[in-house]
């Protein structure tokens, strides 16, 4: 079933992009082929391969149970929040929070996770900011 869904999504994607390609305005300076032909050729191959596993799917992969999926979704949410908060909170604080969360969810006890988070953040800061001189995000406290 998973492969069929992938096939369906792939097919819709191909059709959507072909439709979008037809909307591209042709430039007066265009070459013979133009900017739309190649994307349409790609979409055709994409659509055909999607059609293949729509018809002939592989064996079902083992998806994690709901609780585990929720775990993954939460981790993704934390990473997205990290991306947003990095310029706001600054590298040290944001990274300590995010890596503490990930360490905790990968099976460390809470107190240890906080410690690991702080050490990870400080360690990366030391190596990349202090030693290598990369510009990491600055926060409200100037670091």
């Amino acid at each position: 079933m998973s492969d069929r869904i992938l096939g369906g999504v792939g097919l819709l994607l191909a059709l959507f992009f072909i439709w979008q390609a037809t909307l591209i305005q042709e430039s007066p300076f265009s070459d013979i082929v133009g900017p739309t032909v190649f994307p349409i050729i790609i979409c055709a191959v994409l659509g055909l391969s999607a059609l293949y596993f729509l018809v002939k799917p592989d064996a079902e992969p083992t998806w994690p149970p709901a609780a585990r999926l929720f775990e993954i979704a939460m981790a993704v949410a934390v990473m997205l929040a990290y991306a947003q908060l990095l310029p706001v909170l600054g590298f040290l604080i944001a990274t300590a929070l995010a890596s503490a969360y990930l360490t905790w969810r990968l099976g460390s006890p809470p107190l240890q996770s906080v410690l690991v988070g702080v050490l990870t953040s400080g360690g990366i800061y030391l190596v990349f900011r202090v030693i290598l001189g990369l510009s990491l995000a600055k926060g409200p406290f100037g670091f």
């Binding site: 994607l13 994307p39 994409l46 991306a83 460390s108 990366i124 990369l134």
Partner: protein
């Protein structure tokens, strides 16, 4: 003999203090990444590429760092195969078969040292192969026009799925997905925006680095989160190493094996799309056929450790031949390295040798130096690397994630790019579950624009005549290879992978493999 003169110039490039330091650093980090189960050469290089860019390294230096990581990871993969019976990466799968039994017999140190020497022999001979064969291939490639290049790109995609996926439709899906992502942004030839949906951030297209780090590094973190939670870490067993100097008689005993499998592995590496996994598998199988008269393979025979290690490291070197000479990667990791070349505005392929000889030959010289460094690191210092296996993934994986963010943020300083990277991480996780290979996606993003440009140029030159794409014997030849390369894995690829898995499964049950 001008090849040797060029190589000499290359050594002059490689023997600067900075480049030597970078090679040493790369070898060390690569070995660590290779040793850790789950983090193979592609992931290792993927995490480090953004750093190479943010540090503002010049092209040669960056390439030296990353290829050292590549070679290092090929060396490191064997460590966890031997000590834990968990391959550090796919090419190291076959090393489990005899390496782990040796370790169980208290000969882990010997197995590690021998495999280190075998890795060295394989990589060293393959690097010489690279020196002599790549320039010959370049001569052919200089005859290429736009139509031939278009055929060559198609060949790259057709063969890349290879044995990296069991399903060629999925490999094609991945490649076209990558190509489609490449189409996002302003069209280089007419300046018309394509598939940007009015989003200003998309006018520049999607940076392959963002996609690469998301697909490889972040998806790995998600996979760990899925599997590792709450389980006791397998790596926390007590590891006994024993003596680490292999006896001279054992080295002598294994020398013919190492030489044969180095050649075999090199050939497997040069063939596009086959790569190191095939190199180690056929090396082990051939040696077993050839020398295993008493049926000792699979019970801790040193030759069974030497064969796959020489084979996979030779394949890693071989895979650099088409990457450097044609701009077509011979394996997943060389696809990633090709990405670095392209991103540094260095045209991959034949012109590389004439326009940037310092880059090519400096790189090849650095490979030789790196090999000696790796040999030095992997015999006396092997105890250090085995310590790395004691770092639990619950601490390691968050560091991988955070370093990935640092790398991308350091380049662009944009939260939007970080969000796109997370999205690619999720996509990577889903696609890996569905057995869709990730490397063709990266290659598609990278080569998409050049592929389109060559097609458009070829058709323009011929005044709209599409038959120009098959207008020369060279082009026809490339199309035929592409076609065969796409079809062959359908016949052999699945069977080969099944046999690799089966060989491993059978060994686990203590049976002998055919």
């Amino acid at each position: 003999m001008d090849v040797l003169a060029s190589l000499g110039d290359g050594f002059a490039v490689a023997f600067t203090f900075q480049n030597l330091m970078l090679a040493a650093l790369g070898c060390f980090l690569g070995t660590v990444m290779g040793a850790l189960p789950g983090l193979g050469p592609s992931n290792g290089v993927a995490i480090l590429i953004p750093l190479a860019f943010t540090l503002g390294l010049p092209p040669t230096a960056a390439l030296i760092l990353l290829t050292s990581v590549y070679y290092g990871a090929m060396y490191g993969g064997r460590i966890s195969s031997i000590l834990l019976n968990i391959p550090g990466d796919e090419p190291a799968l076959m090393t489990c078969l005899d390496g782990y039994p040796m370790a169980q017999q208290g000969r882990a140190g010997e197995a590690l040292a021998l495999s280190g020497v075998a890795s060295f022999v394989g990589a060293f001979l393959a690097t010489w192969g690279l020196v002599f064969i790549a320039p010959q291939l370049v001569k052919v490639a200089l005859l290429f026009g736009p139509a031939e290049y278009f055929a060559l790109f198609t060949l790259a995609f057709a063969t890349l799925g290879g044995i990296s996926s069991t399903n060629q439709a999925k490999a094609a899906f991945a490649a076209t997905l990558g190509l489609l992502i490449a189409m996002i942004g302003v069209d280089g030839q007419t300046g018309v925006p394509r598939f940007t949906f009015g989003e200003v951030h998309l006018y520049d297209g999607i940076d392959f680095l963002v996609a690469l780090v998301g697909l490889f590094a972040l998806s790995e973190v998600l996979i760990f989160l899925e599997h590792r939670h709450g389980e006791s870490d397998a790596a926390h067993k007590k590891i006994e190493i024993g003596r680490i100097t292999p006896s001279l008689s054992m080295l002598k005993y294994c020398t013919p094996t190492m030489l044969r499998t180095s050649v075999l592995g090199f050939v497997a590496g040069v063939l596009p799309g086959a790569g190191a996994s095939l190199g180690s598998f056929i090396s082990y199988s051939m040696e077993k056929r050839l020398v295993d008269k008493k049926g000792t393979f699979g019970t801790g025979d040193p030759r069974g450790v030497a064969a796959p290690e020489a084979g996979n490291n030779a394949a890693a070197g071989g895979a650099l031949v088409p990457m450097l000479a044609l701009g077509v990667p011979g394996s997943g990791t060389t696809a990633v390295l090709l990405a670095v070349l392209l991103a540094m505005n260095i045209t991959p392929g034949p012109l590389l040798f004439t326009q940037n000889p310092d880059v090519v030959w400096g790189l090849i010289a650095a490979l030789f130096i790196g090999n000696f460094m790796l040999l030095a690191m992997n015999i006396p210092m092997v105890g250090l690397f085995t310590r790395v296996l004691l770092v639990p993934p619950r601490i390691l994986m968050p560091i991988v994630a955070m370093v990935s963010f640092v790398g991308i943020y350091g380049i662009s300083g944009s939260s939007f790019d970080l969000m796109v990277m997370v999205a690619f991480g999720v996509l990577g996780w889903i696609l890996r579950k569905l057995d869709v290979p990730l490397v063709p996606i990266i290659l598609g993003i990278l080569l998409g624009n050049a592929m389109e440009a060559n097609l458009r140029r070829a058709i323009s030159i011929s005044n709209g005549d599409w038959s120009t794409l098959v207008g020369s014997p060279l082009a026809i030849g490339l199309w035929v290879i592409a076609f065969v390369g796409f079809i062959l894995p359908i016949i052999f690829g699945a069977a080969l992978r099944r046999r690799m898995r089966l060989a491993r499964a059978k060994e686990d049950e203590g049976e002998l493999v055919d």
